[in-house]
Amino acid sequence: MGIGTALHNKTRELCQSLRWKEWAGYFAVESYGVCHLPEYYAIREQAGIMDISPLYKYEIKGKDASLFMNYVLAKDVTKIKPKQVSYCVWCDEEGKVIDDGTVFCFSSEHYRVTAANPALRWFQENSPGFEVEIEDVSEEIAAISLQGPKSRDILKRITSAPLDELKYFWFTEDKLAQVDVLISRTGYTGDLGYEIWMKVEEAEKCWDKIMEAGKDYGLRPVGLMALDMARVEAGFILIDVDFYSSKHTMTESQKSFPQEISLGWTVSLKKPHFVGKKAIQEQKRQGFKYQLVGIEIDWDDLERAYEEVGLPPSLPHSAWRCMVPIHHKNRQVGYASSGCWSPNLKKYIALATLEAPYAKIGTDLTMEETIEFSRKKIKAKVVKKPFFNPARKTS
């Protein structure tokens, strides 16, 4: 089991359920209360606070920082402006996704990258010849995520940072509780939200200040279970769940091109050489085999299937993460990898990887569901992703 983050003393006091999980070697709260749903509702109705310090963070600095980032990442990094954040993927030489993360641009000579998996070695291996310094600052920088419709109002009480002007996926550097912080309008919930980054020594001070400011707004600490539901609703994929890092797979077929996991938009085939470009270009010519889409499971059909065995319909009240076969007529054409009942949308939704011809919106499919000891096929349909996309996310 892991070690505590810089905020462990805070989160430990609050975690009544004693439900912890390992995240990148750290203790992370699964749910603070015995039931995670109030935490989910906090994200969607008021605000939720999360310790996201376990994220890996790297500083890339030097004359060639931009050239280097443009070479290791699939996106056209030269288009990212100072103070902008960008969601990026990086691939191996075969064009298969290694990891995804956010890139913070300070200047063309200074970037910060967050990653789900350790990336230092990969960046360093690729760096010979580039005038860059790559530093792992994972243990030096702590981070707090504040998500939900009231997050802006809460932050405004404790910082004079120009939050009204701060656009989605941009950041600003300011003070919060006399602490130097970086505030980015980012998050993993698909809602209005911010991530606040500071030196580990000052993390507790910031946490206390935010908690205090959030009292009148129904702010709650939220755990990973609530987050998982929110991210499925937002249509965000998760590494090791919806796709695998090409560095960790056991077989070739477990690897994915970015386009196969709905991340084609993060790939710029127009820019000069980047790691994996040739292979991606070649596959593009042949066509990508898979696509990752959103599906909605038919409520009436689910109810019918349960009724057939004399049971009331049962719903997944927390997000599940396993491979569930998806069929078209009588042939398996893919699998769902995570899903949940969305209390907000009142829909049963899931993320699924399908053979490309079956990925069009509206395609009729069935998803397997275990009902009373046996596998049943329940009607499902390809729908638009994100499932939940409130105007406040970007406004």
Partner: protein, 526 residues
């Protein structure tokens, strides 16, 4: 429109100039770009202080190839014949003098060990045999054993036959010895610390290696082979810069264009194919072939835009062992230093020799040890020569210059910078020398200290390595500087290497330039 040449050479050091000569002689339109205002690179003569001139980097052309010497017609260019003795090792109360003749040297050895005196001529004979038979490989492109084209197969066959010609016993002995440490190999032959120290010091100078390091016996063979096939030269009148001028003149006969103060900023690459070079002033020069005499790290990692070089190549290059460990100290002296152990009838001859402070293998190894910990040696290995004694034109009348190379001084210090440490190190060296040159301290008018960091800055030497990269088994012959580029041609189409970092070695012998030119011409024909 960009100017067009057949071949653009980066760097007008001796290798760049020699490659240019052969290429132009074969009818190619050749341009050489040189960053500095003078040619020669490390082979230069510069003023160290008013009135005193020195070949600031090195004063040694004892390994210069006979073939290149003859081809370029360097005979009447004021280069003297080799000195005799070749080297002198200074030891407490005693000196070991290496005369050119193995028999005469053996007589000197006898005062240290009767047994070694008997063995030495046999050792010399064995080394000569290796040199005689395998020396041809130095003036040729090493075989490409991965692809093994027909001609390389023939070469390999020839080398095998040459090996066999040595006789079964000597062949086996050579194959066994080449991978041994210098210590293990020399211990098998000799018992005298003084003798082993001198032989190893000569071979190991410049490398971040100690005589206990595996594979270092190879440096003894390398040294001997190059020396065997050398033109047996001593000193160019006017210093090493004169040699470089002579090389430049040789090229002029065939219209080699040398453009000084023209630094190459980038090697132009399109889709993996080299198209020419971009100069510092923004001028683009197009050429069929680009040949770089710079070290592989500078060539592949600094002059090429990294995304255009494969990751595999960049990593191979990055891992090349290229940490410089030598510091150069040049002294301007008021008068001739007194060398306590040098006297008698042969004093004149003795004063023109190369001197070493390297009393034993253990001493060498301990000096190297410091490198591992990012420190400089408190008991450095020292080599020095009095060039002004041979060539009085270098200093005012009756005054002298003393040229010292000392190690180990690793480029990467664990604590502090070379700017902070170099004077302290120079003091240590002078203290050591003072034991043998008692009046040295009192006669110094000026001293110039060039740490590895200065060598990098002043002579474009990556990490200050005097040979670009160590002469280790994995960085010699088929592997120098890296597999895939050891035949001078690199994985980047139309880019060749022709400098000290290529086969046969990083010394002043001209063979890298010669061989690279031959390879370029051969590939040109297809």
């Amino acid at each position: 429109m960009a100017e067009k040449y057949d071949v653009a050479i980066i760097g007008a050091g001796h290798n760049g100039l020699i490659a240019a000569y052969y290429l132009a002689k074969a009818g190619k339109k050749v341009v050489v770009f040189e960053k500095k205002e003078n040619v020669g690179g490390r082979c230069v003569t510069e003023e160290i202080t008013e009135g005193f001139r020195s070949s600031v980097c090195l004063d040694d052309i004892s390994l210069f190839s006979k073939k290149v010497f003859q081809d370029l017609g360097l005979k009447n260019k004021g280069i003297s014949a080799a000195t005799d003795p070749l080297a002198i090792s200074l030891l407490p109360g005693k000196a070991l003098i290496q005369w050119r003749s193995p028999q005469k040297f053996a007589q000197e050895i006898a005062t240290f060990s009767e047994k070694d005196a008997k063995e030495y001529p046999k050792y010399h004979e064995f080394m000569d045999k290796v040199a005689k038979n395998l020396g041809i490989a130095c003036a040729k492109t090493p075989p490409d054993i991965l692809n093994l084209p027909h001609s390389d197969l023939v070469d390999l066959g020839k080398y095998w036959l040459k090996l066999r010609k040595m006789g079964k016993r000597d062949m086996l002995e050579f194959l066994r010895a080449a991978s041994m440490s210098a210590r293990d190999f020399l211990d098998e032959w000799f018992e005298s610390d003084a003798l082993k120290g001198l032989l190893a010091a000569k071979a190991l100078m410049g490398n971040a290696l100690g005589p206990y390091s595996p594979g270092t016996a190879a440096t003894l063979f390398l040294q001997h082979i190059l020396s065997y096939h050398s033109a047996s030269l001593g000193h160019p009148q006017g210093g090493m810069g004169k040699l470089s001028e002579a090389l430049e003149q040789a090229g002029q006969t065939y219209k080699v264009e040398v453009r000084k103060e023209n630094e190459v900023q980038e090697i132009l690459i399109e889709e993996g194919v080299v198209k020419g070079v971009l100069l510092q002033d923004g001028t683009e020069i197009h050429s069929q072939v680009v040949a770089s005499s710079l070290d592989p790290k500078t060539t592949f990692l600094k002059l090429c835009s990294p995304p255009k070089v494969s990751l595999k190549l960049r990593n191979l290059v990055k891992n090349v062992k290229s940490q410089g460990v030598s510091t150069k100290i040049n002294l301007a002296l008021k008068e001739l230093p007194h060398i306590a152990l040098v006297q008698g009838a042969e004093k004149e001859a003795l004063l023109s020799a190369r001197y070493f402070i390297a009393p034993s293998l253990e001493y060498l190894e301990k000096a190297f040890d410091a490198t591992k910990y990012g420190r400089y040696s408190e008991n450095p290995v020292i080599q020095f020569i009095l060039p002004s004694f041979i060539d009085p034109s270098l200093a005012p009348k009756n005054k002298h210059v003393l040229s010292i190379t000392a190690q180990c001084t690793p480029f990467r210090l664990r604590e502090g910078s070379w700017a902070e440490h170099q004077d302290k190190f120079a003091d240590i060296v002078l203290e050591k020398l003072g034991v043998f040159l008692p009046n040295l301290k009192d006669i110094i008018e000026h001293r110039q200290v060039l740490s590895p960091s200065d060598l990098e800055a002043n002579f474009s030497l990556n990490e200050g390595h005097i040979y670009h990269l160590d002469h280790t088994m994995d960085q010699l012959f088929l592997m120098r500087p890296i597999p895939g580029s050891a035949q001078y041609r690199t994985p980047l189409d139309n880019l060749y290497l022709c400098g000290a970092g290529t086969h046969p070695a990083g010394m002043v012998n001209g063979l890298a330039g010669h061989n690279a030119a031959q390879k370029i011409l051969k590939d040109w024909k297809g």
